[in-house]
Symmetry: none
Subunit: 419 residues, 2 copies
């Protein structure tokens, strides 16, 4: 194993000091670096103040080999990270022609460029430029005075993308080993149940190791191995993951996917079908979530947001007498919604969701009651879910969408749709 490089993350921004935003950049970077075996030992936050930033850079130089900055690369007068870092390492800022031309094109199209925007194209001499694919401010990396400096933009999307695309490949040579993780995505069991189920394994396993994680409406099981190479780590992970999957069965909806709609998209690519959604309490969130994924239009035809009974009747064509008799939040109306949206759009499968997301109730059902339906023209399945009145509006909406996508996944893979 080579030298262990000590890393410091230096986040620059008065908004962090004032607590207006949380320092998620430092967390993301630290997490990614720990995966490639780079050891973050200090994190510092300082405001947009030249002298204090200079002092913090000097402290970082005295105790770290790698300094990663976030923030302060933009065009405004309080963006000074590049200037100060270059100064502390005795480097000049020079105009980068490619970035300058890119900014020129960008702001020319937008017709609202201001001269300060071009300051973003000035970078430390001799640096490796990291182009910003999510914003305008480029980042960069350089080696000087025996230290490695990496500068990333502050907005989390930009920081995250640039870190993965450019900084990780740049920093990989400073790593002394490698950590590989896979995440099993689970729908239908909570974190504490999974924790209980695998408690013995978790206590016994060291490498690979496993840990459950909970996101708002998702339960994940992360399995991690450390080895000299990625192949070795993968070889260690394979049997462990097979055993865990065997124990969990068909509630595992994917591996290393961000969300259940992404797992559905992967399935659809192999066995295409078209679907549509009639949404009441989810208010368009099922459509929105699926259409976040590029290529959605090959499978998702569209839908109706039938937020009020008038739209359920007038647009979806559901019999008002049925709504009157059974109420909008009912097995029967959910069933009709999936069937009608399927007919209306000509899709292979229709999904329907109606329920009470809260905070207000309807005097009949408990908040958190949701009916989710799937129709393929021959048969319609309806699931009744009770999420509990203590749940937030956004939880109920997200979870209702998860149920719908999970029913679609189960339908496509030949499992019992209602699980």
């Amino acid at each position: 194993m080579s030298k262990a490089y000590v890393t410091e993350i230096l986040s620059v921004g008065t908004e962090l000091l004032l607590g207006h935003v949380t320092n998620t950049d430092a967390r993301d970077i630290a997490e990614q670096l720990s995966k490639i075996g780079v050891d973050v030992r200090y994190q510092t936050v300082v405001g947009d103040n030249p002298q204090r930033l200079r002092d913090c850079v000097e402290i970082a130089k005295s105790r770290a080999d790698i300094i990663i900055t976030t923030g302060g690369l933009g065009p405004t007068c309080d963006d000074l990270t590049k200037q100060i870092l270059a100064e502390c390492f005795g480097l000049k800022l020079v105009k980068n022609e490619a970035e300058y031309a890119g900014l020129y094109d960008y702001f020319n199209v937008k017709k609202n460029f201001t001269p300060n925007n071009f300051l973003q194209a000035y970078l430390p001499e001799g640096c490796t430029v990291f182009h910003n694919n999510c914003g305008t401010a480029p980042g960069c990396a350089f080696e000087a005075q025996g230290k490695v400096v990496v500068m990333l933009p502050g907005p989390p999307k930009e920081c995250n993308a640039m870190f993965r695309e450019s900084a990780i490949p740049y920093l990989r040579r400073f790593s002394d080993g490698l950590i590989v993780s896979h995440t099993l995505n689970i729908f239908g069991l909570g974190e504490s149940t999974v924790d209980q189920m695998f408690r013995d394994e978790m206590n016994a396993m060291r490498n690979p190791s496993m840990a459950p994680y909970a996101k708002e409406c998702d339960c994940l099981l992360k399995v991690t191995a450390k080895a000299g190479t990625a192949e070795e780590a993968e070889d260690m992970l394979r049997p462990a993951i097979a055993e865990i999957r065997g124990k969990l069965g068909d509630i595992v909806y994917g591996m290393d996917v961000d969300c259940i709609e992404e797992a559905v998209m992967q399935l659809l690519r192999d066995r295409p079908l078209t679907f549509a959604a009639a949404e009441s309490c989810t208010g368009g969130d099922i459509a929105r979530r699926f259409t976040e994924l590029p290529g959605a239009s090959a499978f998702f035809l569209g839908g109706v947001v039938s937020y009020t009974n008038g739209v359920k009747a007038g647009v979806l064509g559901i019999d008002p007498a049925l709504i009157e008799e059974k109420s909008a939040v009912s097995y029967e109306v959910a069933k009709a919604m999936a069937e009608r949206v399927r007919q209306l759009t000509g899709a292979d499968v229709g999904l329907g969701v109606t329920g009470l997301a809260g905070p207000d109730g309807d005097g009949v059902h408990e908040v958190g009651t949701v009916f989710i339906s799937l129709s393929d023209g021959e048969r319609t399945w309806v699931r009744e879910a009770h999420m509990g009145a203590q749940r937030t509006r956004s939880y109920v909406r997200r979870m209702a969408g998860n149920y719908a996508f999970d029913m679609l996944r189960r339908y496509m893979t030949g499992l019992d749709v209602l699980g």
Copy 2:
């Protein structure tokens, strides 16, 4: 005004360095302190390592008057914050009888005490003890060597509660006033243009001060005043905000709101109308965003997600020949979408959005081209927006929704709908 006390937050915990948890404690503390006028100037994160913690304490002593630590107060062998801080300030740890008795009772009931738990009752001599109402580890504060030290537990619930209940009252005497901020929400100008527009004021203004902030698709201008009381601060802010609003005009859509749909909801409560949306490239996001707000059903009737041309024709009833002739991404189709969804749902106002969110194009329009429409039955307005082909899919979708909500705001307040 008295001396301004410089504050450093020193967070102790290897789990922070590894990125397993986000440092929300530092954000919460900073936010609360800024409200009582205590100036956080540095935040540092260090692991559970005695020598590195000692070094960080020495750095904090050299640059701050108040040092607030989080984490490392528990009973395990890697909890060393109290020991190291006491050592750095030449203080002994002494047994606090009240805390000892409390721990004794607590662990006696739980029947799972281990001797190391009693280490939590040892605190720096002469300190003010902060009892922990959410956990077992007490916190504390002391003054020594001209510095103020406050130690808080790491778990966010415990840290937050103790900070509010005990640390804020203790620290109030070091505050030299109180900070009040208001945020102006702007649609239609970018951060750098706003920065340019107010550069002179920003350089000249000290108290109140102002600064632009950019969120992904939003531009904010934050105006902050520091004064002895909230009333004084508000009195200082009022004329400053009036002047800024005067200069910005009707592109200010709100003050202190989270998003443009929230501003629209506020307007709707005063002058109710109903609306519906026909969404193509936004894929249900307009419906989803508005229905995130409780009470949405009083104003939003529903909509159609016409993600494919078949749904535009079959559900919305747009003439397929028009789509064929003008293409789905066109002024004419956007116009028809707003008009048709209004008729179909019986809403007062219809909104329509069609465009190319990318990453794939249609061979005709540049990615990022979006047409946004509003129809009130008498007249239909259509706006053509070009967001630039380098924008992400999620940016184009969010921004298209912002345009639609902004048109609705302008319509409701009697402004030119197209701005």
